[in-house]
């Protein structure tokens, strides 16, 4: 399946603010992060959280076709 991933801040600078990623059916958040790490080898990016449909997701959580998936670098609001 192909999912669209939104990126922000340093991750958007490195990989763009919107990315299409091909993942096997039933892929998890950790699978997505491994795939993105491959695209960012050697770049000093901070460890991100992942959100699915605007809620923080756990590493084992599965991603489904059509989900809104986002890479959330360390936050800095306030």
């Amino acid at each position: 399946m192909t999912i669209t991933v939104l990126l922000f801040a340093s991750w958007a600078d490195a990989l763009g603010s919107r990315l299409s990623v091909a993942l096997p059916e039933g892929a998890s958040v950790a699978d997505l992060l491994r795939e993105l790490a491959g695209r960012a080898v050697g770049r000093p990016l901070p460890v991100p959280m992942v959100a699915i449909n605007q809620r923080y997701a756990t590493p084992g959580q599965r991603i489904s076709m059509g989900d809104e998936v986002a890479i959330i670098p360390p936050v800095a609001g306030g």
């Binding site: 939104l6 922000f8 801040a9 340093s10 600078d13 950790a30 992060l33 491994r34 993105l36 790490a37 960012a40 050697g42 770049r43 000093p44 990016l45 901070p46 460890v47 991100p48 959100a51 605007q54 809620r55 923080y56 986002a70 959330i72 670098p73 360390p74 936050v75 800095a76 609001g77 306030g78």
Partner: protein, 153 residues
């Protein structure tokens, strides 16, 4: 309760007026401002960027939690996005409650939760012309560990 991400300057007096009520005994206002120094580097401005729909949803969840926990729904939060100069307000939180403990503790709850959870990002501008994304744990991207560290199974 009301949460908003805004691009115009925050009108803090309007927020205080918005939560006012004859049953109010205490009102608190928290204002976060861009300061001229961060970890020893002279700062000239900050870009705030948000994952807007999720940031708004998280802010609204935080206000609902605070209302439940502290017994007042007279809480508003506005966070600025875009480029801000030193002394400009990036966030303002106003809380009104019948008693002071609720107003003080709700204020603190909201600012701590916003800083921890809301997907808003900032890039500092330094006097030497460079810029860097920084986060609320005090790190900058340059100082952070490589991405691999976080995703090893």
């Amino acid at each position: 309760m009301r949460a908003a991400l805004i691009t115009r300057p925050i009108d803090v007096a309007a927020l205080v007026a918005e939560v006012a009520h004859p049953g109010t005994g205490a009102t608190t206002l928290f204002i976060g401002t861009v300061r001229d120094l961060h970890e020893g580097r002279a700062v000239t401005g900050i870009d705030y960027e948000a994952y807007e729909p999720m940031a708004l949803r998280e802010c609204e969840a935080i206000l609902a939690e605070a209302a439940e926990r502290f017994g007042t729904d007279r809480i508003v939060v506005e966070h600025r996005v875009g480029t801000l100069a030193v002394t400009e307000a990036s966030i303002a939180i106003a809380v009104a409650a019948p008693r002071r403990v609720a107003a003080l503790e709700a204020q603190r709850y909201v600012i701590e939760a916003v800083k921890a959870r809301v997907p808003i990002f900032k890039r500092e501008h330094y006097v030497d012309g460079t810029r860097a994304w920084v986060d609320n744990r005090g790190g900058s991207v340059a100082a952070a560990s490589a991405v691999g560290a976080g995703i090893t199974p």
